[in-house]
């Protein structure tokens, strides 16, 4: 039942992964073809970005029909086939569900705006003024100036927390709540294993509040969870709620709301800690992270399809992140940085490995963003967040092996620069090289999956005097794993207080080599730049 705790999740977009029919756009046929690749990599779940019919003004997060597949990606039957093939390989499927809003092209909204008397009028949030809910922040500050948009058809304002073409559904309306459960049920009955519920803090609005994280919103979510558990036990809900840990905690409820939630504040602090060569940002945010119910889990990630969000950092931290990771203004978007992992880390293999090592060993379930396992680059000349959504680079041939279509027909240009371009960075080439990033990722995932301690164990931070060293002990029952990360670009010596583990020998989990037995003295380790160790502690 707790499969999500041990999962390695791979995030992909159907459009970007592999084009099975040669039209220049990735599709379910293509994705199904590449399931063996994912299985080899070691992933146990795949999270798909929205693939529903949509005008695609927000990359599919503007859904126009919840019960179908966008024609560019195939058919419902294609999806069913893909789902079956994934399950055959032991890969679970997580799909996106955008509860908060629809596209303005959705028939529901078209009906709602058609007249004030339409039965679906109350499915969205309408107002005669644009002054209600004044205390609500604007999320897409680069493009929107208000959370209200004027509808010239019904001559009133509608509420939208994201783009103005994405009107918010009205969750005060029981018919909306019922309908959205029906949508979820549609996919659950088909066999999907989990939903990533998009933008959940914003479901309900109340005057005099910031319209986020409201009790009424939690009530809606709890009701969905209750129905899920009753009718589809073993399935999972993953929350997208970009909030501080203390504000996120209620989304787990008493184990009766979300199974998992993204830990948004941790990710920028991992980058910050690496740049500062100081563990403080990482340990501090994890110290502030509240306990969650035993059945729940954090979802950790380094990069995803959005910008590297800097909403959950202080102004000082944000300025630092901008100056150190996005010197060029074109790399910035909203309150974040629209770059992929490898370019953010200057394509430094040691830093990429260290960050992935932390991702895989800190408490939570890791998500690998498609292409990051081979160190793909980005294209900051593409607008919005499209620079990190370019076609997957499978080989060095035509269109990087992504599609047989004419390159002009591709949904987006491939990365072509000399460093990150598909001739240099591709799956085929890396498969052939034992020491490639891809093969390293495969190995680290294998080690991670060799024990449940990373997904389910407790964490205890050691605080060695050397602040460049991030060290922690993961523990599950009798299994104890010591993780030591050197965040510094230079070699470091560190003394660890391991007296409570006196008598244990340390076995490095990657090479299975033994290190000296723990005694009464501080355990001295010397670590190369950006090096990390995972040690299994064994009392033999």
């Amino acid at each position: 039942m707790l499969w999500y705790k041990d999962a390695i999740i791979y995030q992909a977009h159907v459009r970007t992964f592999y084009d099975g029919n040669g039209d220049g756009i990735g599709d379910f046929h293509g994705l199904e073809e590449k399931l063996d690749y994912l299985q080899e990599l070691g992933v146990s779940a795949i999270w798909l970005m929205p693939f529903f019919p949509s005008p695609l003004r927000d990359d599919g997060y503007d859904i126009a029909d919840y019960n179908a597949v966008h024609s560019s990606y195939g058919t419902l039957e294609d999806f069913r086939k893909f789902l079956g093939s994934a399950h055959e390989r032991g890969i679970r499927v997580i799909i996106e569900m955008v509860l908060n809003h629809t596209s303005d092209q959705h028939p529901w909204f078209q009906e709602s705006r058609s007249s004030r008397d339409n039965p679906r009028r109350d499915w969205y949030v309408w107002s005669d003024t644009d002054t209600r809910y004044k205390g609500t922040r604007i999320i897409f500050r680069d493009t929107e100036t208000s959370n209200w948009a004027w509808d010239p058809i019904s001559k009133s304002y509608y509420w939208h927390r994201f783009f103005s073409h994405q009107p918010d559904l009205n969750y005060d309306n029981p018919a909306v709540r019922e309908q959205m459960w029906n949508v979820m049920k549609f996919w659950l009955e088909m066999g999907v294993d989990a939903f990533r519920l998009d933008a959940v803090p914003y479901l309900v609005e109340r005057e005099g509040t910031i319209c986020e994280n409201l009790p009424e919103t939690h009530a809606v979510l709890k009701e969905l969870r209750r129905k899920l558990d009753e009718q589809f036990p073993g399935r999972m809900l993953l929350a997208e709620a970009n909030q501080w840990p203390a504000d996120l905690r209620p989304y787990f409820g008493d184990g009766d709301e979300f199974h998992m939630a993204f830990h948004f504040p941790l990710m920028p602090r991992m980058f910050m800690g690496l740049k500062l060569e100081d563990r403080k940002p990482i340990t501090e945010i994890l110290q502030q992270t509240p306990e969650i119910p035993p059945s729940c889990q954090w979802c950790l990630f380094l990069r995803n399809h959005d910008e590297l969000t800097l909403e959950m950092v202080t102004d000082v931290e944000r300025d630092y992140m901008y100056d150190t990771y996005a010197e060029s203004k074109t790399m910035r978007l909203n309150l974040g940085i629209r770059r992929r992992l490898a370019p953010l880390l200057d394509n430094d293999r040691r830093r990429i490995e260290l960050m992935n090592g932390m991702l895989m060993s800190l408490p939570g379930t890791p998500i690998v963003y498609y292409g990051d396992e081979i160190g793909m680059g980005d294209n900051i000349n593409l607008g919005d967040r499209n620079g990190v959504r370019t076609p997957m680079q499978w080989d060095g041939g035509t269109n990087g092996g992504f599609s047989t279509a004419d390159s002009e027909r591709l949904y987006a240009p491939l990365i072509q620069d000399p460093v990150y371009g598909y001739p240099a960075v591709n799956v085929l080439r890396q498969k052939a090289s034992e020491h490639s990033l891809l093969n390293w990722m495969q190995r680290i995932i294998t080690v991670r999956r060799s024990t449940e301690v990373f997904g389910r164990g407790s964490i205890e931070f050691l605080y060695p005097a050397n602040h460049r060293i991030l060290a922690y002990v993961r523990r599950l029952g009798n299994e104890v794993v010591l993780v030591v990360n050197n965040l510094s670009s230079t070699a470091q010596a560190v003394e660890l207080d391991l007296r409570r583990y006196k008598g244990n020998i340390l076995i490095e989990m990657s090479g299975k080599n033994m290190f000296p037995r723990v005694g009464d003295l501080p355990y001295l380790l010397t670590m190369g730049s950006y090096q990390f160790y995972w040690f299994r502690l064994r009392r033999i």
Binding site: E277, D278, R279, K280, P281, Q287, V316, Y463, H467, T490
Partner: protein
């Protein structure tokens, strides 16, 4: 790294330094039983670092001369790190506060040597020494003493202060005018408990043979400033504000003279190739005022100063015969007989006195320590005259008088050179 040579660093301190690692900013605090003030001072320093150097790697290092009041523990207790989340200061990164005790006496020389060694091992780019007694320290001081080094490439930042016109008289009547005349740079506070320096200057000075010269290391901060001038390092001044007034008893003068005059005279020997070729003087770049004068009334026992001068001239006649020229000694004996109303120790005679002392120090006509101590009663006579001349003087008039004395030191510099060369 000179670990073998730097064996005066304890293993425990080395272990702490290893944990700190490379830093950009090093703030040092030499202490000795400063528990009453040190907590507030460290917090002010932290505030300064976090305000003006929030992104830089920084450390606060306490070199303690054997405090028995828990001073080092207080310093160590205020580190800002992830093991101490209760800190009320927000810091982007860890800010270590570490401490070491040295075994010898709490002489400043050992403290500075420890600080310089730590700076070199940590490859600190910009360093500052702060006084553990500065009750009026402001966070801005950190910026004022470090920014010129960190941002503008200076190697030494000396402070300037707002002082009472009768405060720091050894500086205004001897140290400032003499260093200015000899070294050609108008450094107002060449011997200060607060100053900033670059890592490269610190390393260069650490390697100099000044640590085992037979003195107890007192006055080594002055030596540091003089070495920077002599080494043609980039020096500037930064105005810090009001200087704490420390009430000193008359008995404090002798150790102060030994520290300041002894160090200055000692440096003149090694720096002769430098100062002998310098003519005139230039002001260093200065941020803010190069001095400010407070004028409020201050009670000074001038009568006692004159009495101690006269007594000294009489009792130390044989000593002065070894040090001073006959004409200078005769003039001093002459003014020693004057009553309080007529007493006047002119600038020209004072400069000649000092220069003759310097030359005799070099020749070691008697014990060098005795030579330096013998200057104390004469200095009291000079102070009497300075107080009299400036009793009702405005700030400008005081400055004009100091400037006149400086020019006298510069004018008579050939006399010192002549004395110096006659001893060769």
């Amino acid at each position: 790294m000179k670990l073998v040579e730097e064996s005066f660093l304890t293993d425990d301190f080395l272990r702490q330094l290893i944990s700190v690692g490379e830093v950009d900013i090093l703030v040092s605090l030499p202490t000795h039983n400063n528990a009453k003030t040190i907590g507030a001072i460290v917090q002010t320093i932290q505030s300064g670092i976090l305000n003006w150097f929030p992104r830089e790697r920084a450390v606060i290092i306490n070199a303690d001369g054997g405090s028995r009041d828990g001073t080092p523990e207080l310093v160590r207790g205020v580190s800002i790190d992830d093991a101490r989340p209760a800190s009320n200061l927000y810091a982007l990164r860890t800010l270590h506060s570490i401490s070491t005790k040295y075994a010898s006496s709490p002489a400043s020389g050992v403290a500075l040597r420890t600080i310089l060694a730590a700076a070199e091992l940590l490859r600190a780019k910009a360093c500052v020494v702060m006084s553990p007694e500065s009750a009026n320290i402001e966070p801005e001081w950190i910026s004022k003493l470090l920014r010129p080094i960190y941002d503008d490439g200076f190697d030494l930042v000396t402070p300037t202060y707002r002082r009472h016109k009768f405060e720091g008289l050894l500086i205004t009547n001897l140290l400032y005018p003499m260093t200015r005349a000899l070294y050609g740079l108008r450094i107002r506070e060449a011997y200060s408990p607060e100053f900033g320096f670059s890592g490269r200057l610190g390393s260069q000075f650490l390697g100099q043979n000044v640590w085992n010269d037979g003195t107890d290391g007192a006055g080594v901060e002055l030596r540091f400033t003089l070495a920077a001038i002599a080494g043609r390092y980039r020096i500037c001044q930064s105005f810090l504000g009001e200087k704490d007034r420390i009430e000193r008893r008359a008995a404090d003068l002798v150790p102060a003279v030994r520290q300041i005059v002894g160090t200055l005279f000692s440096a003149l020997e090694s720096d002769f190739p430098v100062w002998s070729t310098v003519a005139g003087s230039q002001p260093p770049p200065t941020t803010g005022a190069d001095h400010e004068v407070l004028l409020e009334p201050l009670r000074v026992n001038r009568k006692r100063l004159r009495e101690m001068f006269s007594t000294g001239v009489a009792e130390l006649e044989s000593v002065f015969q070894s040090i001073l020229s006959p004409s200078t000694l005769t003039e001093l004996q002459s003014i020693a007989r004057l009553g309080e109303e007529e007493f006047h120790y002119p600038a020209e005679l004072w400069v000649r006195t000092v220069y003759e002392f310097a030359a005799s120090y070099r020749k070691s006509v008697i014990s060098r320590d005795h030579i330096v101590q013998a200057l104390a009663p004469l200095f009291r006579g000079r102070v009497f005259t300075f107080l009299t001349e400036n009793r009702n003087a405005s700030a400008d008039e005081v400055e004009n008088n100091v400037e006149a004395l400086c020019l006298e030191f510069e004018r008579l510099k050939p006399y010192l050179l002549q004395l110096w060369k006659s001893g060769e």
